[in-house]
Amino acid sequence: MMNRFVLSACLVLMFGLSASAGAEQAKVVSVNQFVEHPALDSVLRGFQEQLREEGFQVEYRVHNAQANMATANLIAQQIVGERPDLVLAIATPSAQAMAQTVKKNPSMQKTPILFSAVTDPLGAGLVKDLQNPGENITGTSDLTPMDQHLALIREFHPELTSLGVIYNSGEANSRALVDLLKAETVKAGIKLEEATVARSSDVFQSARSLVGRTQAVYVPTDNTVVSAFEALAKVCQDNKLPLYAADVDSVPRGAVAALGFDYYEHGRQAGAMAGRIFRGADPATTPVETQQELELHINLPAAEAMGVTIPQALLDRAGKILE
C-alpha cells in the first residue's frame, strides 16, 4: 500500500500527471459474505469484474462466515478495524450484522455499505425506504418479479388451476417470496400448494408430497431447495410434473424454464452502484435497485420428459434454449 503510494507519487512528480493521481489510489473494499455458495460467489465475481472494467483499482478484504451468524458478527467487527472505503455485505444475515455494527461504531457511520442478494431489505430492517435509504446503507435486492414469473408459467399452462411451491420455511428470503406469490395466485384464482423443507435432504420427500396435488411446481431462489435441485427434478420427471425455477442456473439442472435471475449480473449491478459512490454519489439518496433485464431460458429435454408442449411464442422469446 505504502510502496504503491510512493511509486505513484514519484510517477506524478516525474511526468507531471497530477490530474490522474486520484484514480491511481487503490480503494479498499471489505466483503462480509454469509456463506460459500455458487450464486453468492457469482455476486462477488460480478461486483469485482464491474469495478475492474470501470477502471477502479480495488484491494479486497474478503471474509466468509461459513453460514454462522456469530462469525458474521465477528467479521463485521473485523471490518470496522480495516477502515475500508466501502463494504459489500452479501446475503441478509451479513447485511444485518453490518447494519448493527454501524449503529455501535461511530467510525462506520460515514463508510458506504452496499448489500446484495437480500430479498426484502425493508423487512430485514436495512433501509427505511427503498427509494430514499436515508443513511449510509443501500444496495441491490434479488427480489424476483413474482407477477412475471407466474405469468410465464401461465403461458406454458393456460389452464393452470393449482400450482405447487417448494421452499425452506426457515429462509427469510423464501418466505417473503412465497408471500408475494400467494398474493399473485389469489389474484389469478389459482390454488397454491405449499411444501416446505428444513434441509436439503428433505427435498425428495417434500417434492413427492406435491405429486397429484398440483399441475406444476415452482421453486423460488431458495438456497436449500436449489442445492438439492436434482432430487426435485427427478421426482417431477418421474411424475410428469412440470418444474419451473426462478434462476437460470437451475434450467440445465432440470427445470423446464426460468425467467432468469442472474446472480453474476446482480453483482455487476452492485459493482456499478459502488462505482457511482466512489465518484461521489451519496448512499443515503441512492435507491435500492432490483434486476430489470430478465432472460428466458428453456430446457427442451426437460420439457419433453415432463410432458410440456412449448408455445412457439415462448421459443421465439427465449434467450437460451437447451437442446
Binding site: E36, M69, G81, K104
Partner: protein, 294 residues
C-alpha cells in the same frame, strides 16, 4: 488483529459466555449432554425480538425469553426422566421441535431489531460508543450470573445437582428424587441459554431461526478450552473458567479470521478448519508442555 476485532471477540465471548455457563451446568454438573441449546438459543432470541417489536420493554423481554428457555429445558428433562428417553435423543427431539416453534413464535424465520430500542441504548445515551457499552454491559451481566451460579451450586439444591451428576444411584438411595433435580437443572441451563440468545438478538440487531446452529459445539469447546487453560478444581474456579473459555474460543475464531501466512494464503472457506485446529491446539498445549518440559 485490529483493536475492533479484538473487542468484538471479547464482546461475543461474554454474550455467548452466558450460554456456555448453561452448557457447563448440564454437561459438567448434571453429566447430561444437552443438545436442546441449538433450539433454545434462537427461542430466547425469538421471544425477546417478538416482545420488543410488540412494544414490551427490552429488559422485561429478557425475562420472558429466560422463562421460555426454562420451559424448553424442562421438556427435555421430562422426556428423559419421566418417559425414559435417552438424554441425547430427548434433547435432539426438543431441539428439532423448537425449530418449528421458533418460526411460529416469530411468524417467520427472521425478526429484525434494527432501529428498535434495546438494553444497549441507555448506555450509548451516556456517550459511550456502542462497541464499548456492550462490553461493559455484558461484563456486568456475565459477572452477575457467575456469582449467582457459584452461590446456587453451594445451596442444598445445587449440591444435590452435583451429586446427581456424580452418582445418581447413591443419591437415589438417599431418598432424593433425581427426576425433579434433572428437570429443573436442564430447565435452568436452558433458561441461561435462552437469556444469552435474547442478549445476542439485541446485540446483533436480529433474531433468526438459524442462529442456533452450532451452539452446542461452541458451548462444549468453550467449556473444555476454559478447563484446559484455567483448570477445573473447585466450583468457583470451574464456573469462572467456563466464562473465560468462551472468550478464548471467540478470540481463536477472530484470529483465524485475520490469519495471513505469507505466500500461502488461506481462503475464507478454510475458516472452519482453522478454528478446529486452534481449538485442538488449545486442548493439547498443556499435555505437550507437561510431556516435554517437566
Amino acid at each position: 488483529m485490529t483493536l475492533y476485532a479484538l473487542l468484538g471477540a471479547v464482546e461475543q465471548g461474554l454474550v455467548y459466555g452466558i450460554m456456555v455457563l448453561g452448557v457447563y451446568l448440564t454437561f459438567r454438573v448434571l453429566n447430561f449432554p444437552d443438545l436442546t441449546v441449538d433450539g433454545s438459543l434462537p427461542l430466547g432470541a425469538a421471544v425477546c425480538a417478538v416482545a420488543i417489536t410488540s412494544g414490551i420493554d427490552p429488559f422485561l423481554s429478557l425475562f420472558l425469553a429466560m422463562f421460555a428457555g426454562f420451559l424448553a429445558g424442562m421438556i427435555t428433562g421430562f422426556l428423559n426422566t419421566k418417559l425414559g428417553i435417552l438424554h441425547l435423543l430427548a434433547s435432539i427431539l426438543t431441539m428439532i421441535a423448537l425449530y418449528s416453534i421458533n418460526i411460529r413464535v416469530m411468524s417467520g424465520p427472521n425478526v429484525s431489531l434494527l432501529g428498535r430500542d434495546t438494553i444497549l441504548d441507555p448506555l450509548m445515551g451516556l456517550g459511550l460508543p456502542g462497541y464499548l457499552s456492550s462490553i461493559v454491559l455484558f461484563s456486568f451481566i456475565g459477572a452477575a450470573i457467575v456469582i449467582f451460579l457459584i452461590w446456587f451450586l453451594h445451596t442444598e439444591f445445587g449440591q444435590t445437582m452435583l451429586a446427581t451428576g456424580d452418582n445418581p444411584r447413591m443419591i437415589t438411595s438417599q431418598g432424593v428424587n433425581t427426576h425433579s433435580v434433572i428437570i429443573i437443572g436442564v430447565g435452568l441451563s436452558n433458561a441461561m441459554v435462552a437469556f444469552s440468545g435474547a442478549l445476542i438478538a439485541q446485540n446483533q440487531g436480529a433474531a433468526d431461526v438459524n442462529m442456533g446452529v452450532g451452539t452446542i459445539v461452541a458451548g462444549l469447546a468453550s467449556v473444555i478450552v476454559g478447563e484446559t487453560v484455567f483448570g477445573r478444581g473447585g466450583i468457583m474456579r470451574a464456573v469462572i473458567a467456563a466464562l473465560l473459555g468462551s472468550i478464548l474460543y471467540r478470540l481463536a475464531i477472530a484470529m483465524a479470521l485475520s490469519m495471513k501466512l505469507g505466500a500461502f494464503s488461506f481462503t475464507p472457506s478454510d475458516l472452519n478448519l482453522i478454528t478446529a485446529l486452534l481449538v485442538v491446539l488449545a486442548l493439547t498445549a498443556p499435555k505437550i508442555k507437561a510431556r516435554f518440559f517437566s
